[in-house]
Amino acid sequence: MTTHSHPHPHETLPEHDERLGYYQTMEIAVRELLIAKAVFTADDMRRAVEAMDARTPAQGARVVARAWCDPAFKARLIEDGTAAVGELGIDMGETRLLVVENRPGVHNLIVCTLCSCYPRMLLGLPPDWYKSRAYRSRAVREPRAVLAEFGTVLPEDVAVRVHDSTADMRYLVLPAQPPGTAGWSEERLAALVGRDAMIGVTRPVL
């Protein structure tokens, strides 16, 4: 055991990097109460977190690639996104999916100004920047400047359509298929489709 002579008390909470905030404390208290009252078990909780962490943007990329390859699927996806992704075994749960298509002359961008609503079933957990105050306020206020910072510089004759995901719908951008990829397999196309393109801050490129 080490000893040292100065008299001040040490703050030693080696398991915490920093003090818990109000909402962290509240989350732990509520979780522990729900487990104590047997509403769910600690293992249920662990499995739910594991299932959330297992979702990745590969799900969304699969949807986009299918839409590029199958015009009938694409039509159904735009008509009723929830039902169409259900065909691929993706369950939107309580939310409904709205797919917005980038077309010549229209570019779509998704934001949730109120919090961080995000199509987690299709894209997994949102990136930190999506939840930041800067993105949430600037995406509606100056979307072209935000897009340019992501490397997406749009000419004036391409209209920007921002979708503020404020309520019960979840949004997925269906990007345009990059030129030079006609006839590619779905798997090969899906590899071109990244998370950011499905939020609308970038466009897929070869």
């Binding site: 209209a159 359509r161 921002v162 979708h163 503020d164 404020t166 309520a167 719908m169």
Partner: protein
Amino acid sequence: MSETATLAPRFAPGARVSVRRADPPGHLRTPWYIRGHVGVIERLCGAFANPEELAYNRPGVPKQPLYRVRFRQREVWPDYRGSAEDKIEVEIYQHWLEPA
């Protein structure tokens, strides 16, 4: 009230609507920046339990029709830099909308 009770939609796609300029207390899902602005109904999304009631563990019925409303960016932000065709679409519950 039944869980399936739903208010009838008041607005059709294409209708001009204005967002109420109100600031009631509680949990609201109508962004501040869009209150008082005039837009056009893009589509009816369906009917959903009122989140302002759900937030307090009340059932939120009758369900509120939810719309996507499309606004011109230059009307929302007077100093907006971008095309006159740039739009913003926001989901707004019926009780926040009035005919314009």
